[in-house]
């Protein structure tokens, strides 16, 4: 059988573009595009070696490539992997040649490249200016726009209610391990409900550790899809090792962050065929959890009572919060539009600052208002308003 290394050296996938260069660039993947654009547009005398079958690395082709070159640069994202291959091949063959890249700090060690990073690198190694357009820059300071939970998102109500429960019990220093999904956006204020995250399923596993290594209260969050993915073994661990924490399973019946794919909790599979629903409750029960409650997170009062109970429970307490994702399923069905009755509103800003639904805003006159275009009609703000100032538009 022909061995792999030979194949890599003879494969047409690994291609040399000769451009009369004394400098050569070894590159792969998306970085190749930046190199080629810069070289062609500016008609640079730079030879390019596009490596596509990158492992095994085509060592003989590299030797052929550098034969008449004075120096070589390696342009790759993210780690200096080919760069080290090149250095080792040169070393093994006793060739003295400058190799530019990440290791000699010609290129940044982290993050993706851009056309401009690559052009600047070429300017350095060629010691020649490349004509570039002068970018504009704005003197106005502009606000950031980070992603956020959708208006009417059930996760928002959960964060609001958990915080409310914790505050009403006077608990301090609660730890909120979180997991991977839309709900990771709970990291933002005013929720501040994301304290520790390692990977898929880590919310529960790390809660086990916090339960053993601290005396703090722990409330962790995991989504339905992530629970199926990696949440079950650590839950079994928690029960068996007698940990004490509250686990909130945010069951929004989809894999929302990535665009709403089904998961084993749904009656449909990847083929679009009917499929058995796997019950999260039954799994939790089977682990031997002694405190298990289900809530509708849009019911603020009941949810708060449940969270208080769960926080008082001495053991693993599981609260399954069930409500479909607003984006993929639960768009408002009724046409009734909500508004803030200005005569009742005393501008306490609970809805604006504690619930912080993105459909609620302060207008130019400082009045609290609801943007009916964004509002999904979840009715949660109606419940949190102490003045009962939010209601249906008449």
């Amino acid at each position: 059988m022909e061995e792999l290394r030979k194949l890599s050296n003879s494969s047409e996938l690994n291609k040399i573009y000769r451009r009369n260069g004394k400098v050569g660039v070894v590159t792969s993947g998306g970085a190749f595009n930046y190199v080629m654009d810069a070289v062609q547009r500016n008609d640079l005398n730079v030879d390019v070696f596009k490596v596509t079958l990158t492992h095994p690395f085509p060592d003989e082709l590299l030797l052929e490539f550098i034969k008449d070159l004075d120096s070589v640069a390696v342009v790759e994202e993210v780690d200096p992997i080919m760069e080290k291959e090149v250095l080792s091949i040169l070393g093994r063959n006793g060739i003295q040649m400058a190799v530019h890249g990440k290791l000699d700090q010609t290129l940044p060690m982290i993050y993706e490249y851009t056309p401009n990073i690559v052009m600047e690198m070429l300017e350095t190694v060629l010691n020649q200016k490349i004509p570039k357009n002068q970018p504009s820059n704005s003197d106005l300071s502009i606000p950031e726009r980070p992603p956020t939970l959708c208006p009417g998102c059930p996760h928002r109500s959960v964060y609001y209610t958990v915080k409310d429960a914790v505050n009403s019990m006077g608990l301090n220093d609660v730890i909120y391990p979180t997991d991977i999904g839309c709900y990771t956006l709970g990291i933002t204020s005013p929720y501040d409900a994301a304290d520790y995250l390692l990977s898929m399923g880590s919310s529960i596993g790390t809660s086990c550790g916090f339960s053993k290594a601290t005396k703090q209260n722990v409330v962790c969050f995991i989504g339905d899809s992530t629970f199926f993915h990696a949440g079950i073994p650590p839950l079994i661990n928690a029960v068996h090792n007698k940990d004490r924490f509250v686990l909130v399973i945010l069951d929004n019946r989809t894999t929302a962050m990535t665009g709403g794919q089904p998961n084993p909790g749904l009656p449909v599979d990847g083929m679009g065929w009917e499929a058995p629903e796997v019950s999260i409750d039954a799994i939790v029960e089977a682990t031997g959890v002694k405190y298990l409650r289900k809530i509708n997170p849009m019911n603020i009062k009941k949810s708060k009572e449940t969270f208080i109970e769960a926080l008082e429970f001495d053991g693993v307490a599981v609260v399954i919060s069930q409500h479909p994702c607003m984006l993929t399923k639960g768009r408002r069905s009724s046409k009734a539009e909500l508004e803030v009755k200005q005569e009742k509103c005393d501008e306490c800003a609970v809805c604006l600052e504690k619930l912080a639904c993105t459909a609620i805003y302060k207008d130019d006159e400082g009045k609290v208002r609801i943007d009916t275009k964004l509002c999904n009609g979840c009715n949660v703000c109606v419940q949190v308003c102490p003045e009962r100032a939010i209601g249906v538009k008449k």
Partner: protein
């Protein structure tokens, strides 16, 4: 464009495809019989499209419970002679890695491609790990496409390579390649074999210490003269 065209477009058509859409087209042209994933940005659209097309294409696709299961489903299909495709985001490969290491030891019968969609600059991830290390860690051949058309072409190449060396092949993309849209020239869609036969061979498929010693030796043979 209607997404169905990823399947229905005839040979020599020009389509304006996302890298992830081109991956599906390439797999269909290569006669893939089974595909599996756990969704993760920047690879998610591959699964979304398979989910829409698999039935019409007469192949099997699943959203697996996690990436490790997805890889195991694909590995056993490939061991049974069905061309398989599993794809995930870069950190998903960490989840799958336990079985991945062994799948390279045992090798495959029909071709198997693992696509790892890396996320430099972390548009949607907790880290920007470079999964090209996995090719070296596991001793597995790897290709790195630069655009959608290359993704499509490399699918076919990777299945051939995988079968020639009886090894899974890693295709490493990055966000900018997976989420790049470009003109793709279609090839012919092959109807993939969806049922194979697993021929029992514990010496080959069960890595316990005694057999794994030999498996590793054989694996390294494929790399060295």
């Amino acid at each position: 464009m209607n997404l169905k065209e990823v399947l229905t477009a005839e040979e020599n058509q020009k389509l304006f495809l996302l890298g992830n859409e081109a991956a599906v087209r390439g797999a269909l042209e290569a006669g893939v019989g089974l595909a599996s994933t756990y969704p993760g940005t920047p690879s998610s659209e591959i699964g979304d499209i398979f989910s829409k097309l698999a039935e019409d294409a007469g192949i099997y696709f699943e959203f697996s419970t996690n990436e490790k299961v997805a890889l195991e489903v694909a590995a056993s299909a490939a061991a049974s002679g069905v061309r398989s495709f599993t794809f995930m985001k870069h950190v998903g490969v960490n989840v799958a890695s336990d079985s991945l290491m062994s799948a390279v030891y045992t090798g495959v019968e029909a071709g198997m491609v693992i696509l790892s969609a890396d996320d430099p600059s972390m548009f949607s991830s907790q880290n920007e790990q470079d999964n090209r290390h996995y090719a070296r860690l596991a001793n597995m051949p790897m290709v790195e496409p630069s655009n959608p058309e290359e993704i499509r072409q490399l699918m076919g190449f990777s299945y051939e390579l995988s079968e020639q060396f009886k090894l899974p092949v890693l295709m490493r993309t990055t966000t900018r390649v997976s989420h790049m849209r470009g003109v793709v020239e279609t090839g012919n869609v092959e109807t993939g074999k969806t049922k194979g036969f697993f021929k029992r061979d514990p010496q080959r498929f069960v890595p316990v210490p005694a057999t794994a010693m030999i498996m590793h030796k054989n694996l390294v043979q494929k790399w060295k003269s």
